[in-house]
């Protein structure tokens, strides 16, 4: 039995059948998880200037680049264990680097609110046992966290919800698109216009306060009535919602204040994005976008990966377990062509194809062990299922840290 690192649900009930040091079959995993566990077809090889070298030589070159950089940045870590993330924080401190992760342009703002206790949240196990009203807002869990509804929210039996979805639970979807999750919420799909979430929240708050909302009053009053009756409600805040209200995240806090029986859970994608946020928060009081300078931590939007690349403020980039060339707008990443990029990853990525130095690592949770933090904050153990020819990213970062 292993833990799946396909997404931040970190499903711990995965069986794998291994033959000749490769995964032949997985059981219980979703499509996303099974594909992650079976692995990529194009494993990375150590290289410098895209020419294969011994891994020790690629490590030496990485050390040289980081030593010579005046404004280095470390980025990624959503697919790294807690232990690797802590090493990355130490390394960033040691070389006075900027440090950011994928939550910077994803769910970072919401996780920051959770860690500052700005709204009520809860565990996935509490949801399974108690939740009766589930609101998927800008979240297509069926595609992004495929076992969310079946393991924790809508379908399972729970301590107080013995009749599950048939009678005890109600699922609602609020989205721009009729997603696969919205299809399950039959009769309770509220379609909103593109970037209409703020207006929807304001109208819902009016309806909850007994005022007649200006926006679709009939539907808003109907929804408010359902939410008011909830004994244990949860809003699953997806990236669609977060992006739409990114300039006014506090509006979600205000909505939460109007719904005393509700909890808010940011729907995290990468398996240990929340881990990075918590590990950095415990160390510095910030979840991302920091720069270390002679023992001090500076937090500023200009240390986000997006702004740093846009404004050309970094002169070397170490990327761990992430593919910014694929996941960031092309209009922003052109600066990457002019600086040395070091890539640590199990697989060939778009970023590794432009990197000066590539250092392959083991796949965490399959070829190496460690711990990670589930989307609800629970620490989960990752067990090694088979051997790898390469060190895990924790050990690569440890070696960089020791030599630098």
């Amino acid at each position: 039995m292993i833990t799946c690192t396909g997404c931040a649900l970190l499903c711990e009930d995965i069986e794998v059948i291994i033959e000749n040091n490769s995964v032949k079959e997985t059981r219980n995993a979703c499509r996303r998880g099974a594909a992650r566990i079976k692995g990529c077809v194009n494993r990375m090889v150590p290289s410098i200037d895209q020419k294969p070298v011994d891994i020790d030589i690629s490590l030496k070159k990485a050390i040289q680049i980081l030593k010579n950089a005046k404004a280095p940045m470390l980025f990624g870590f959503g697919n790294s264990t807690n232990e690797a993330q802590k090493k990355a924080i130490q390394l960033a401190k040691k070389i006075n680097a900027a440090l950011d992760d994928t939550s910077s342009f994803c769910q970072g703002h919401l996780i920051e609110k959770v860690l500052h206790n700005k709204f009520r949240t809860c565990s996935l196990d509490e949801i399974r046992n108690k939740a009766d009203v589930l609101v998927y807002w800008g979240s297509d869990a069926q595609d992004s966290q495929p076992r969310h509804l079946s393991r924790f929210s809508y379908f399972p039996r729970g301590e107080l919800r013995q009749r599950g979805y048939e009678e005890d639970r109600l699922a609602i979807a609020i989205d721009v698109r009729e997603s696969n999750t919205a299809k399950i919420c039959k009769g309770h799909f509220y379609r909103i216009p593109l970037k209409g979430d703020r207006e929807f929240i304001l109208a819902l708050m009016d309806a909850l306060s007994g005022k007649v909302p200006t926006y679709d009053p009939k539907k808003m009053l109907e929804l408010a009535a359902i939410l008011k009756k909830a004994e244990f409600g949860v809003i699953f805040a997806g990236i669609g919602l977060t992006y739409s209200i990114k300039d006014d995240i506090d509006i979600l806090v205000a909505l939460s204040d109007k719904l005393p029986n509700f909890h808010i859970m940011p729907m995290v994608g990468h398996y240990n994005m929340r881990g990075f946020n918590e590990n950095l928060f415990n160390e510095t009081g910030f979840v991302n976008r920091v720069k270390f300078s002679e023992g001090k931590t500076i937090h500023d939007d200009k240390y986000s990966i997006v702004e740093a690349l846009k404004e050309n403020t970094v002169d070397a980039l170490l990327v761990v377990g992430s593919d910014p060339v694929s996941s960031l707008p092309r209009s922003i990443i052109s600066h990457l062509a002019s600086i040395p990029v070091i890539c640590i990853d199990p697989c060939v990525t778009m970023t590794s194809k432009i990197a000066i130095v590539n250092i392959p690592c083991a796949v965490s949770g399959i070829e190496s062990s460690g711990t990670a933090i589930r989307m609800d904050g629970k620490v989960v153990e990752l067990k090694k299922a088979m051997a790898s020819n390469y060190p895990d990213d924790e050990n690569v970062l440890k070696r960089l840290l020791e030599v630098i």
């Binding site: 194009n42 698109r177 939007d301 997006v306 697989c347 778009m350």
Partner: protein, 135 residues
């Protein structure tokens, strides 16, 4: 022999608003091989509602050029299987959609992934390769 005048005529351009989404089959293909044919087929496409397609004179499986001042991509059209209210088309989050995302962030570090404004027109060009979407 008559000259094919059609090839010199530019297809009409239509303004289009695009939002991005996630698709489990595309994510599965990404995990397996981000440079493979499956990932390309599931990423290099745009889903449009039937009514919007009719208005623009575009059919299912047509090939289109989508462009704005940030970039351009050639992708296949898929007709939405659902009743769409119209006005918005959908692209799965990928390097193809990211080629069209604005660099305007207001200094806040979060690009506008969910609202892409672009022009769309029929084309006979090849689908944009992932290799050409690198920096």
């Amino acid at each position: 022999m008559g000259m094919d005048i059609g090839k010199f005529l530019k297809s009409p351009e239509h303004e289009i608003k695009i939002t991005t989404y996630r698709d489990i089959f595309q994510i599965e293909a990404l995990e397996r091989d981000r440079f493979g044919e499956d990932y390309r087929k599931l990423s290099a496409c745009i889903v449009i509602g039937k009514n919007d397609m009719q208005k623009m004179g575009i059919k299912d499986r047509d090939r289109v050029l989508i462009s704005n001042k940030y970039g351009s991509v050639v992708v296949d059209v898929k007709e939405s299987k659902k009743e769409e209210p119209g006005g918005v088309a959908f692209m799965v989050n990928s390097p193809w959609s990211n080629a069209l995302v604005s660099d305007v962030t207001g200094g806040k570090g979060i690009p506008e992934f969910k609202e892409i404004i672009a022009k769309i027109s029929l084309t006979k060009e090849e689908i944009t390769s992932i290799e050409s979407l690198r920096v």
